[in-house]
């Protein structure tokens, strides 16, 4: 009569459980991503979407700390605007299946899409050949934390009057700051390795790699 599902975890224990799960999810994805045949950009996008979605869900115990904003920015930089918009929307919808779906999903998809589009427009600024500037990604990701939250806050105008909006934004500032700082951490740790495997699995590298293979 032992019911393992009835174990009640404290918030800290739940957080450690989720962090362990995230490592278990991310590690094989990292191996899979590295061992993809070069130029496999669509498989790479799918892996990244799974990583971003599970990362957002599992880090939910932490206030406003999740990897999606940085990953969307990197997808914009490497894979362009249209793919980053699709990516952003899929991650917003699939993570909200667990976290709760509502009118805000639309604004989250919109805001992350804007982050991806920004990445694609400024991709020349981030990339020097194939090397990525971690500091520039960090700086833009930091600003994107605030910008994302403010765009999503527009959804509050469905329930509060416009004149209350500045106060609503002000009350959210501490959480915006946490999002921005979290982005800085993800940019520092993820943008190097993710950028490396995304470069190898970009549409451009397929164009270069495949003719070489047919010649040999």
């Amino acid at each position: 009569m032992i019911d393992a599902h009835a174990v009640v975890l404290s918030p800290i224990e739940a957080l450690f459980l989720n962090l362990s799960l995230l490592c278990i999810v991310a590690w094989p994805m990292w191996i899979a991503g590295k061992s993809l045949r070069p130029g496999n950009d669509l498989a790479m996008l799918a892996l990244l979407a799974l990583f971003a979605t599970s990362g957002r869900i599992l880090l939910d115990p932490l206030p406003n700390i999740q990897p999606v904003t940085v990953v969307v920015l990197l997808v914009g930089i490497h894979y362009g605007a249209s793919r980053s918009v699709a990516f952003a929307s899929v991650v917003a919808i699939s993570s909200n299946l667990v976290l709760g779906h509502g009118i805000w999903t639309l604004y989250q998809a919109l805001a992350w899409s804007l982050v991806g589009i920004t990445g694609s427009l400024l991709s020349g600024m981030f990339l020097n050949g194939t090397a990525i500037s971690i500091r520039r990604v960090g700086a833009v990701a930091f600003v994107a934390g605030f910008a994302f939250d403010w765009v999503v806050s527009i959804s509050a105008l469905h329930s509060i009057p416009l004149e209350s909006f500045p106060v609503y934004l002000m009350v959210g500032l501490p959480f915006d700051l946490v999002h921005a700082t979290g982005n800085l951490v993800f940019a520092a740790w993820l943008s190097g390795p993710l950028s490396e495997i995304m470069t190898r699995n970009s549409p451009q590298s397929r164009a270069v790699v495949e003719p070489v293979k047919t010649v040999s």
Binding site: V171, V185, G192
Partner: protein, 184 residues
């Protein structure tokens, strides 16, 4: 150079998360200054509650409270019913005439207790977002069904949608807070 960013960003994040409660308190106090002390928030309430703190609970037409199903019942701090106002175009109860409360949650728990269980509050504690009220006076938000995705207890502060949750609400003299069911 870029390797400094990795440990430095984590240290910064820990500092920001650790100071989050302090930052929240600061902006919430700041936000409380923007809540207008509009006289109209006392409209329809007993005149002796002027300059006193009041909490009102309004129930939806679909799920009326078994005791407070007609008009709005006015209850004083001793639990005595002062009267019923039928002109407020909604049903429920107000408990008022309090002084000196600063924390919204303390006030809500003390004031609703006066009604002797008729307005008891059920809430869950979220480690990040504070108390989340799901039940007032026996009405759980999950019981409110209709042509919408979901319902929640919505908090107003002096007649305006509250920018902060009940756990973060700073009260001043003469403040009126009210709860009613909103949907999304």
């Amino acid at each position: 150079m870029s390797d400094i960013i990795k440990p430095a960003s984590i240290i910064l994040l820990v500092i920001v998360v650790a100071s989050l409660p302090f930052l929240q308190d600061s902006v919430n106090d700041e936000a409380a200054k923007f809540v207008s002390d509009s006289e109209s928030s006392h409209d329809g309430l007993p005149t002796e509650w002027e300059d006193r703190q009041v909490i009102c609970i309004f129930f939806p037409e679909s799920n009326p409270h078994p005791e407070f199903s007609t008009g709005v019942t006015m209850i004083d701090p001793d639990g005595e019913t002062i009267g019923v106002n039928d002109a407020l175009n909604s049903t429920g109860a107000c408990v008022g005439g309090f002084e000196g409360y600063e924390h919204g949650m303390d006030f809500m728990m003390d004031a609703t207790r006066v009604a002797g269980g008729l307005l008891s509050v059920g809430y869950t504690m979220d480690p990040n977002w504070g108390p989340f009220v799901h039940t007032i006076g026996g009405l759980n938000v999950n019981e409110v069904q209709g042509d919408f995705n979901g319902a929640y207890w919505s908090l107003s502060h002096n007649g305006e949608y509250s920018m902060v949750g009940i756990g973060d609400l700073t009260m001043s003299q003469g403040d009126v807070i009210s709860w009613d069911i909103a949907t999304w």
